[in-house]
């Protein structure tokens, strides 16, 4: 019997060619490795690399060797150090603590992922007693960096508990000595001067939702009390002005709905006009109200990607025009670029392996129930308590973060355990959300070829690597990653 013909592929030299993953991007091939290093090779270069025929001493060979792609030129100490640096979040423990002070909200956002309750229904307000137990549990985390993020509902609807938590956490930290951040996620419509003075005096950060120009924002975020956009923008500008040159500040982000898809440039220009540092284009997720309204406001992954690219192009254009006083970024791109262009990991909980559920973050519901993550507590509102792992003030801390659900999510979100991810060129830059897999596809492992989040992630990364080939784009991207001199304490979860 004659031998089968060899596949039409370049010969592979397993002695010279080190570990790599690859992906075709147009006429080029992207090669990456576990250290996050990457090279875009033309066809001849790729064949030479795979066949191990690149000449030592040539620039391409030496660049590949320096980045750990050439097997007989590996500096294991340096490679291990880089790998450890990129993955140092593994030993930190939960640093992000989402605290739901109430489920009440005065808005009725079309996509409300949190399934807020009517403003008059105070039954879901967290009590001070529960809040004390929550803060005590937060401070049990071995993480040196702690971020307490107030969420809801609208957290300001339960102002006494926000006040209590801020004071109690600051007080406890005198003993604990952690790097403590406090973030208030608010629609700003319940803000007043007195509250603002109090919060600014205590170094609280703010994050609000601005879904774009007034017509778009108000259509997505109905408020019976008045014009949501006008009120939010007014406070945004005021807080922005009062936090100039401070170490805390206000940021805004938007949720993209079908109404947004034709307004990419408008949205980006609006964010630039209000003086935001950047824009964060987040797709809809299958939680809460968004499930019921999906037919009205939802879209496909490909529709989102078309919108995203138009918006990203506008962001790049604004940066090149140099009419803004500082670099203006798109936050999803910035997170990926930090992983692509630096040896540091921004430790964004959705984009790491394993994800942050239980081991990087915890979410505390208004009644003190503890969930693996914010997504997990969102499912609670949909009648599913799969991701509840304990309660503040009950049981040991170790039992909460050691809960079987936490272990299962850690296994499911470790990309080496994901069939498609383990071979994907984007593995060093990506992450899966097992709770979203569970919600969308019925199990926490998910199936990446048909996973909408995977498609969006790949699409954005394809765009970024394509745009990185143009030096003028790379210049803009690198400016987004530049740290202010002496401005950053390198604490996980607390870096811009």
């Amino acid at each position: 019997m004659s031998a089968p013909s060899a596949p039409a592929f370049p010969p592979y030299d397993p002695i010279k060619t080190g570990p790599f993953r690859f992906r075709k991007l147009g006429a080029k091939t992207l090669v990456t490795n576990d250290l996050g290093r990457h090279h875009l090779l033309d066809e001849e270069e790729f064949r030479g690399f795979v066949a191990g025929t690149l000449e030592p001493g040539t620039p391409l060979h030496d660049r590949l060797a320096a980045d750990g792609f050439v097997r007989d030129r590996m500096d294991f100490d340096a490679l291990a150090e880089r790998f450890a640096r990129r993955n140092r979040f593994l030993w930190q423990g939960p640093a992000l603590h989402v605290v739901v002070t109430t489920l009440r909200c005065n808005h009725r956002c079309l996509y409300c992922h949190a399934s807020a309750v009517p403003f008059s229904d105070a039954a879901t307000d967290m009590t001070v007693e529960t809040a004390r137990k929550v803060v005590d549990r937060v401070f049990e985390s071995p993480s040196q960096a702690i971020t307490i993020e107030f969420q809801g509902g609208e957290p300001l609807a339960n102002w006494p508990v926000v006040e209590f938590i801020v004071e109690y956490a600051r007080e406890k930290n005198k003993a604990a000595g952690k790097s403590l951040w406090l973030n208030l996620v608010t629609n700003l419509t319940l803000m007043d001067e007195e509250k603002l003075d109090w919060l600014l005096a205590r170094g609280v950060n703010f994050c609000t939702s601005i879904d774009g120009p007034a017509d778009l924002h108000d259509a997505n975020r109905p408020w019976s009390g008045g014009a949501s956009h006008e009120t939010a923008i007014g406070w945004f500008r005021k807080i922005d002005a009062r936090t100039k040159r401070k170490t805390f500040r206000i940021d805004a982000l938007l949720t993209v709905t079908r109404k947004s898809l034709t307004r990419a440039r408008d949205i980006v220009d609006h964010y630039a006009e209000i003086g935001a540092r950047g824009v964060f284009l987040r797709p809809l997720n299958p939680y809460g109200m968004a499930v019921a309204t999906w037919n009205k406001i939802g879209y496909t992954a490909d529709e989102f990607l078309a919108f995203y690219e138009e918006a990203l192009d506008r962001v790049l254009e604004l940066n090149r025009e140099r009419t803004l006083r500082r670099p203006f970024f798109e936050q999803a791109a910035r997170l990926y670029l930090a992983k692509i262009l630096t040896d540091d990991d921004p430790n964004f909980l959705d984009l790491r392996s394993p994800c942050g559920a239980g081991i990087g973050q915890l979410a505390y519901n208004w009644d003190g129930s503890v969930y693996t993550c914010d997504e997990g507590r969102m499912l609670n509102r949909m009648g599913d308590d799969t991701f509840k792992i304990g309660a503040a003030g009950e049981g040991a801390y170790a039992d909460v973060v050691g809960h079987p659900s936490v272990r299962a999510l850690a296994v499911a979100s470790t990309l080496d355990n994901q069939v498609a991810c383990t071979q994907c060129a984007y593995k060093p830059y990506c992450g899966v959300c097992p709770v979203q897999c569970y919600k969308e596809q019925g199990d926490i492992m998910g199936r990446m070829p048909t996973n909408s989040r995977c498609r969006i992630s790949k699409g954005i990364l394809d765009m970024l690597f394509a745009k990185l080939q143009e030096p003028r784009n790379e210049k803009v991207f690198r400016a987004w990653l530049k740290k202010k001199k002496g401005a950053e304490v390198d604490a996980l979860y607390q870096r811009a």
Binding site: A3, S5, P7, A8, F9, Y12, F22, D34, E81, A84, N87, R88, L90, W91, P94, A95, F139, P142, Q144, A145, E149, E167, R170, E171, K172, N173, A175, A176, G177, K178, S179, L180, W181, N183, V185, A201, G203, V204, C207, K246, L253, N347, F348, I359, D374, A396, A398, V401, G402, V411, V419, A420, T422, Q423, P449, T450, E488, A491, L492, Q494
Partner: protein, 199 residues
């Protein structure tokens, strides 16, 4: 309007493509086609593809051609992965050892001490109660053995990363309890940086 479903059925020679490469290619195709794998003639696997409805679905030749290319890619991925498995494991294990909790927490404690505004305000001592990190050279061989044994024999019930150890247990010397809110603290800035994640 969607094009009608396209069918393609063919055999793959197992002497060229290992079963795992065929399975990986089939998995990658589940986004655009329904895939069936079954034994074919001796030494061959039969692949049947039926395209999913799409506005611009592929014709049969394209579907088959794309699958062939995917097979080639998956076969290479498999070879690269297998021939470099030990190197990858070595680098990862070495990194894990160098980043054992003791070493990491010591470095992180130093960072936090700089960022802790309450400490600065109170003149509190630095909370760097973490033990000195182990010296890598001395620990390397022992730790690699321990980690490998843990991976091979463990049931995932341990806490190798130390994330389940409560703060006061880990940094006991510093863990005096705060009693609760007192008078409003003097205005002071928060630690520097950005937000982790918001809704």
């Amino acid at each position: 309007m969607s094009r009608p479903t396209t069918e393609a059925s063919f055999e793959v020679d197992e002497r060229i493509y290992p079963l795992e490469a065929v399975q990986n290619a089939a998995y990658a195709f589940t986004d655009r086609a329904f895939v069936r794998l079954e034994p074919g003639d001796a030494g061959k696997l039969k692949v049947s593809l039926s395209s999913k409805p799409a506005p611009e679905g592929p014709d049969a030749d394209t579907l088959r051609g794309e699958f062939d290319n995917e097979l080639v890619h998956q076969a290479l991925r498999l070879r690269v992965s297998e021939s470099n498995r030990k190197i990858r494991e070595f680098v990862v294990t070495k990194a894990l050892v160098s980043a054992q909790p003791s070493a990491v927490t010591a470095a992180a404690a130093a960072e936090a001490a700089v960022a802790c505004v309450e400490c600065a305000a109170e003149g509190a001592p630095s909370p760097s109660a973490a033990p000195e990190p182990a010296r890598i050279d001395e620990a390397l061989e022992k730790e690699i053995d321990r980690l490998l044994a843990e991976i091979e024999g463990g049931d995932g019930a341990g806490d190798p990363l130390g994330v389940a150890v409560p703060w006061e247990e880990k940094f006991g010397a510093k863990a005096k309890k705060a009693e609760g809110p007192k008078a409003p603290a003097k205005a002071k800035p928060a630690a520097k940086g950005g937000k982790a994640k918001r809704r």
